[in-house]
Symmetry: C2
Subunit: 666 residues, 2 copies
């Protein structure tokens, strides 16, 4: 506050305006001297606070914080290269303290994992419209790479349902797998390569925050929609329909199902359903009795073996039951020459790769983080992304398609007591051994059992409980969830994602320009002011109206509306005589919620001030934030309303205003 | 607060987590009973505050407030139809107290206005690629309609430069006026009709806030860019170039000028420039000496007459000086049959109409408001929009193109001492008389003089001073301004607008998801806590870290980043031992800035809490806002962190935490 200059300022302000309330002028003159030292000092602190970091500084700081590794800062500088290698390959760090006891646990977990992984991989390969061995290949190389580079201890790497569906749904639009399987496969590997490349780039440039742009609500809706779409796709296998649509939306699929219903095979349906039911029952038992966790994990493999035997002995394949047939065993072949970076589809492959990268990372990080937080260690998102990226790049060169962390298998791995990522290595080796030795045995496996294995994994993706929580907690988040859900269901996977992201951002926009104000009152017996609607005990002070702006920014989109609303509050209150007979003498504008203001906002405050003065009401500004007070000073608004009318907080402003009113009345 | 249940809750929370800090448990037991009544009561008020208005309530309230007339509420209900008519036609209200003295002033102002209006209208018609009489028509009917329906006392209605350019720039892309002037004209009237219809609809449905979406910064940039584009267009007339581009961007225009430079007519240039200079000099004199305000107002008319006489007597039109020639006098003819609502261009006409409506309203409301606030009366934006809408609809039926409030002429009207909108009526009648009697005299007016009249109006549109203020006050607003400016200059008028609106909204989005936190400290001798960077006098309290979230919303886009940053603050502070040897015992999370939270934000808080507890630090939440506390309660977060750890404000939280630390140390 400037004790010398403020009465002068005040006179100047009054002189430029219609002199309706010049009587007030006299009352002001000795106010500043009479004010207690505390208030004046605080206002001086407020007005003389250093400038906030400017735009460039803030921008560069934000980029530095985003892009530069945080974890390294706190580490000692010495042995830089060792630490770098340990950072890149965490196995070098924990491997030194690895021992037999841990290995025993990891071995058990890895074997349990493999028994679930083999049937799921075959099923998901089917979902991705690839031959079954590609699913198994994907369960060999990516887990091994991840074991070297990843830092999660529980995550189980391999093909997952959502990514498999995403891949086939997107790539089918470009190449039909039933017409040209070789071109389709080559495109799948190319997309996988791009997926890995994007993930690695996200990680290296620390763009992990991109994953955050898929909000929790969007993921709930997206997963639910995808699960239903996957389930509908399985009707083909379960009902034994030969001709099916390549589209994924509900309408097309239901049409195809209805059309093909006359040619369904009840036997396949019964076979598939009976295994589906047995898998679901064992899962239910496994959830209830924690000791039987291995039961749901091994049931799929058991079902596959049993159904294969049934088909083999009953020769059901001769009676219309479709079987896998083509199943090439052996080591992962190289697929380097199948990557196509020059063809007509390379642009689309890159686009699909970016979508896959995002979805795969979202799932993997959600899985990794939730188990890491159970065990109480920290996962660095960016480092994980680099590991995932490399695992998919290497995968794309060795006939794997996009892999990520699977929620269902990670849960099994955790329950089976895995200690380190070695369980992934055990699993990969087990799958590799099966590829080398047992693939011929799976020749007679019926397709219906694969459909039932996929179907059994779906209920875990549909989180009705969480959707209900969304509805209860945040209606708009529920709308985001519904948008993603119906977008996936009736449009396509990409449309669902697009809708969810668009609604999420529109929601932020609408909320931050929300045009609302609150009237504040004093809590009895305190100097605390708060919303009189939220705290009915709070009381208003005669002659003083305290209005708080509730939006975080006062900008072009809401400033003039907020100005009008405040004016209406001031003059309506005068009309209805809610406060005193003399009406509102002083408006205290609480700006504590306004984190930022733009030039339209400042103009609006200036107009508010003019209007108030012209009608004989005064304006006091309380608690402008750092950015706001700096801009108000730069724009000379502080000078215009007289520096003495800007207060550190509402308490100070009200104290000052009450003195004015007392002086005015006597 | 729940004194009975909170220790129980606390135990439960601790039980589900690794028991690293279970020693703390014992220290808590008697804390709640020992707390002073004030704090506990406040926390109870906070936790038991009624639910905030829900989404539907808020939405319907917002729509009601936006759409329903505000001004009518405060009026008495009696004589409803009279008031309604008076509301629609304000002339019925002020007309009854109109008298001779006022008329004398309005007459003088109206005549001054007409002398400026006639040459400007002819020039702007030229800019809109229409015959000169259409400019004059537009200065007859719209001002008369506005006089009946409008409530501004100073605004001068008629064609303006920006809207004229906008119309020709947009419509030229569809119909070339030099090839098919009749179709072009018919499209101009159709667009004018749509302009009026949109304006009326905006007004009737109270969508006035749409005008706010063009921020102040965007308008400054847009006007500056448009002025330069208009100026470049005038090079055609000034240099006497015959073949010119129909595009408006700088690159095309400069190319056309350079190509045509060999055929320029120095005489025309000298003629145009000499009048331009004389107009600018008289304007400068008029600005300096307020008594000579009429000088810049009449110079354009005087220049037109003088140049016409020069051309007539020197027969310069035979030596290459282009003259107006075609100039049909007489009353506004009907243009009802020229409106085309069925042709191939009706969709584009509607689109152009909506853009014109927005730009015209933006200019008119800016003009009207700034003069209304000088005279201290209030302009109702929505009512003005209805008046403008009807004036343009009627205009489109009587051969007028889109009219709005002109800034330059309104300033002249104000300076000339107009009392009411009658000065507009005087002006319209004067223009009408000129149309009936004097148009033949303007046959020999050279086109170069029209160019110089338009050019002389441009410096008022380029507000370098304001652009500098934008730069000083808000760098991002300056970016919006530059975006609009260069968009108009190098793209087109629509691209400029689009860029400005896009940047403006992106800016809000980026600011509201800004991922920043502040460390707070106590102001010496008070219970006030504030940013230690903003207030270097503030001091931190040993063992307690107070972190404030600075963004207005804690949502999917910033929640996990903010969580990481807070964790880093807590544990880095531990490392560098800034606080005490024992490090941070308790984190007080100040949520006073967070106006809203979504489910991702709540998850993030839960994870923060888990991480902190697992490392032996406790969490206390201070000052959650209405929406936030309601959602935290619904999502059971309050139960999870124990209800006793949610505080009304920072002071209460710190007091409680200090008690814990004291108990812990002794």
């Amino acid at each position: 506050m400037q004790p010398q200059s403020s009465p002068k300022h005040f006179k100047e302000t009054m002189a430029t305006l219609p002199a309706e309330n010049s009587t007030m002028e006299l009352q002001q003159l000795d106010l500043d001297n009479a004010a207690p030292a505390g208030r004046a000092e605080r206002a001086k602190w407020l007005l003389s606070s250093p400038n906030p970091p400017n735009l460039w500084h803030e921008l560069s700081g934000s980029i530095r914080e985003t892009v530069l590794p945080q974890e390294r800062r706190t580490r000692p500088r010495a042995k830089g290269h060792v630490l770098f290698l340990q950072g890149l390959f965490p196995i070098l760090k924990w491997g030194r303290s690895y021992n037999g006891a841990k290995f025993k646990k990891d071995l058990m977990a890895g074997l349990t994992l493999a028994s679930l992984c083999i049937p799921q991989s075959i099923g998901y390969a089917n979902l991705a419209k690839l031959d079954p061995q590609y699913g198994l290949y994907t369960s060999v190389v990516p887990p091994l790479i991840y074991a070297l580079m990843g830092s999660s201890k529980e995550i189980a790497i391999g093909p997952v349902a959502v990514v498999s569906l995403l891949l086939s749904a997107m790539i089918q639009k470009v190449v039909d797998p039933s017409v040209d399987p070789v071109a389709y496969r080559s495109l799948v590997f190319t997309v996988t390569f791009f997926t890995g490349a994007f993930q690695a780039v996200f990680g290296i440039f620390r763009l992990g925050f991109l994953v955050d742009f898929l909000s929790h609500a969007a993921i709930v809706g997206f997963m639910g929609g995808t699960a239903i779409v996957i389930g509908l796709q399985q009707l083909k296998g379960l009902l034994g329909i030969s001709y099916f649509t390549t589209k994924t939306d509900v309408v097309s699929v239901m049409e195809a199902v209805l059309k093909a219903l006359h040619s369904w095979h009840p036997w396949k349906f019964v076979l598939g359903c009976s295994f589906l039911i047995s898998i679901l029952i064992t899962r239910f038992v496994g959830t209830r009795n924690k000791k039987l966790f291995w039961l749901p994990a091994v049931t799929p493999l058991f079902s596959v073996i049993l159904s294969t035997l049934i088909v083999y002995f009953t020769k059901a394949d001769k009676h219309g039951i479709e079987i896998i047939k083509h199943f090439k065993g052996g080591l992962n072949p190289s697929s380097v020459h199948q990557l196509k970076f020059g063809g007509p589809h390379v642009g689309e492959a890159a686009k699909f790769g970016s979508i896959c990268a995002l979805i795969a990372l979202t799932e993997a990080i959600a899985v990794g983080r939730s188990f890491a937080s159970i065990k109480g260690y920290h996962l660095y998102g960016n480092k994980e992304m680099v590991a995932m990226g490399f695992m998919n790049i290497v995968g794309s060169l060795t006939s794997c398609y996009a892999a990520t962390g699977s929620f269902s298998r990670t849960a099994v791995n955790f329950s089976a007591g895995s200690e380190t990522v070695v369980s992934n290595i055990v699993m990969a080796i087990t799958v590799l051994v099966s590829l080398l030795l047992f693939t011929r045995l799976l020749y007679y496996t019926p397709l219906a059992i694969l459909a039932s294995i996929i179907l059994s994994a779906l209920p875990g993706l549909i989180d009705l409980n969480e959707a209900y929580n969304l509805w209860k907690t945040d209606k708009l988040d529920f709308v985001v969830c519904l948008g993603a859900f119906f977008g996936v269901l009736f449009g396509s996977v990409e449309i669902g994602l697009l809708i969810a992201v668009a609604i999420s951002f529109a929601k932020i926009l609408v909320e931050s320009i929300k045009r609302s104000t609150q009237v504040l009152g004093r809590l009895p017996g305190t100097d605390i002011f708060c919303n009189i609607l939220q705290y009915p005990v709070a009381t208003q002070i005669p002659g003083i109206l305290i209005v708080s702006i509730s939006s975080g920014t006062l900008c072009f989109a809401n400033a003039s509306f907020i100005r009008e609303r405040i004016l209406r509050r001031v003059f309506n209150e005068n009309d209805t005589k809610e406060t005193t007979k003399r009406g509102v003498r002083i408006l205290v504008l609480d700006m504590s919620n306004v984190m930022n203001i733009d030039t339209s906002g400042i103009h609006s405050l200036e107009e508010l001030h003019k209007k108030l003065i012209s009608r004989g009401t005064e304006l006091a500004v309380a608690n402008p934030r750092w950015q706001v007070i700096t801009k108000l000073k730069t724009a000379k608004f502080v000078d215009k309303i007289e520096a003495g009318r800007v207060f550190f907080n509402i308490t100070d402003a009200v104290e000052y205003c009450q003195r004015i009113i007392v002086l005015g009345n006597c």
